[in-house]
């Protein structure tokens, strides 16, 4: 968990407008703000833009998301902001899901048949909207074979759809998944085919482990080692962002 948050924080740019859900994505964004990207703007689908975040919120409707914000509005404004071509391309959306395929399409709706699901999941929330609108998305996943599948049971949020230029030809706005930060490493997508490949693995993982935990063929030959967390990064994460370990839990 800590490595995922830090690997994600390193990939947030100083001029990004970061769209956040709660949980680990928010931990990553708050860590980025206190380290590499102090000027990045955090915003929530509930319409709170650039809050001061003295404490970590536990839901997007948590009163904490509004404190010290530059603006607070509603859903229509927040999603319109991302669909708008002036701001949308500047937004980095952080998403997650129960299943992902090799093109970064995400499922957060159901496992099994849609009308008779074996497991019902929460549903899109704003995830589909964000994935449809923003310039880049970063996806958080637990890296397990049942989650990295050839076909997701339900496409909730569009990634590169069926690869190549299929995203643009479906009529979706310019954008798409950039990175997938997992428990085993950081994946990216091939420039042309839009297929997922392993870009970096952590010091405690290796490319073979990624292969055996991915249910589709994944290229791992060009993968590099991700530098381990620095003392400074860990200090920020543990003492400033989530001192009560509400999100990080006891997992180191």
């Amino acid at each position: 968990m800590e490595m995922m948050a830090i690997a994600a924080a390193r990939r947030i740019r100083d001029d990004d407008i970061v769209f956040c859900g709660t949980g680990l994505p928010l931990v990553a964004a708050m860590t980025a703000k206190k380290t590499y990207a102090p000027h990045c703007t955090v915003f929530f689908e509930t319409g709170s833009l650039d809050p001061s975040l003295p404490e970590i919120p536990l839901a997007v409707s948590d009163p904490r998301v509004i404190h010290g914000a530059s603006h607070a509005s509603g859903l229509a404004d927040a999603f319109g902001f991302m669909q708008n071509r002036r701001f949308g391309p500047r937004v980095l959306g952080i998403l997650s899901g129960a299943q992902i395929d090799s093109y970064g399409n995400l499922n957060s709706t159901c496992i099994g048949d849609y009308r008779k699901p074996t497991t019902r999941l929460p549903g899109s929330g704003g995830a589909c909207d964000v994935a449809s609108f923003v310039g880049r998305t970063m996806i958080f996943m637990k890296h397990e074979p049942r989650r990295f599948v050839k076909r997701v049971d339900y496409i909730t949020s569009p990634g590169w759809v069926r690869g190549w230029d299929s995203r643009t030809s479906t009529g979706l706005l310019e954008g798409g998944p950039e990175t997938v930060v997992t428990t085993l490493g950081v994946m990216r997508f091939h420039e042309k085919t839009k297929e997922m490949f392993l870009s970096e693995y952590y010091e405690f993982t290796n490319p073979i482990e990624v292969l055996s935990n991915t249910d589709f063929g994944i290229e791992v030959s060009d993968a590099q080692a991700e530098p381990p967390p620095t003392q400074e990064e860990l200090h920020t994460l543990r003492t400033e962002v989530d001192p009560l370990r509400l999100i990080l839990g006891n997992d180191v």
Partner: protein, 286 residues
């Protein structure tokens, strides 16, 4: 929450719920067996429930029928309803199963005249020379809109101080609006700064003074989430019998929401009060 409790006490059933994101109140109504149809984008409660438990169980065993939209689509549906137009366009959901798969089939849609004939429709942009697909989302006009606000007057002027979600659109789309509020304030006070008001009095049918009306969820500037209650609930909701006991103890046996609050006690509720200068209760980082 207070209104959800009252619906359960009155046993108003065969409900058709239309929401963007549902949490604790949705879960109670479904768990009480009062819900038939749900059109929704999200059924979860942050860290307290990654998917609302009674919602999940009911969707899995088929006791409710669910139609999935995205949050923006649901917002546009209320907005279209509020504007009096039959649909609004968006680019959201192209290339997804939100577009392809329907929870409500044509037959069900014919049986329920309140449902739109189609879930979503893809059309070409008629204004652009290059065209390109857009998704049309159907308007929705609910019979009743239930809201909780920080302030309202007896005359019905409503001020939401905090996140407004799609409250304004939902109220304007609905045929009736019932509001519970933390504080009833004189109408003159709200009219001094009308630009801060969320819903005008002409739209509101009833105002109920109900402090702690959102418990165990949070109300900005007033009180925070009741973490303990929600975490306990998450365990309780997983067990059918325990859930029934919860409903009896906290919803059905108390005669009113104030009686429910009485079970919890002032001491506990007091500990949830928002800290001065903050809209929430500061966590103890000792």
């Amino acid at each position: 929450m207070a209104l959800a409790h009252e619906i359960i006490r009155q046993g108003i059933d065969r409900l058709h719920i239309v929401m963007h994101s549902g949490g604790q109140a949705l879960d109670l109504l479904i768990g009480a067996g009062l819900v038939e149809l749900v059109e929704i984008a999200y059924g979860a409660n942050g860290r307290f429930a990654s998917t609302c438990t009674r919602f999940r169980k009911a969707a899995e065993n088929g006791s409710i029928k669910v139609e999935d939209y995205s949050n923006y689509q649901m917002t546009l549906r209320f907005m279209a309803g509020a504007m009096g137009v039959p649909f609004l366009p968006t680019f959201s959901s192209l290339g997804t199963d939100i577009l392809e798969r329907w929870g409500f089939d044509h037959e069900l849609r014919t049986q329920h005249p309140s449902l739109p004939k189609m879930k979503l429709v893809v059309t070409d942009d008629p204004f652009s020379s290059v065209g390109g697909p857009l998704v049309l989302v159907p308007a929705v006009n609910p019979d009743v809109c239930l809201l909780h606000a920080q302030k309202a007057s007896a005359e019905g002027t409503v001020r939401v101080e905090g996140l407004t979600f799609a409250d304004a659109e939902q109220a304007r789309a609905s045929r009736a609006v019932i509001v519970t509020c933390e504080d009833v304030v004189p109408d003159e006070e709200l009219r001094k700064e009308p630009w801060h008001n969320t819903i005008p009095s002409v739209l509101v049918d009833a105002v109920i003074h109900q402090p702690y009306g959102a418990h165990p969820t949070a109300c900005y500037l007033h009180y925070d989430y009741d973490d303990r209650h929600l975490l306990e609930y998450d365990k309780i909701a997983a067990d059918d019998l325990a859930f029934k006991e919860y409903l009896t103890k906290y919803v059905l046996s108390p005669g009113s929401f104030n009686d429910y609050l009485g079970i919890l006690g002032n001491d506990r509720l007091g500990k949830l009060r928002a800290s001065p200068g903050f809209g929430f209760h500061r966590r103890d980082v000792a």
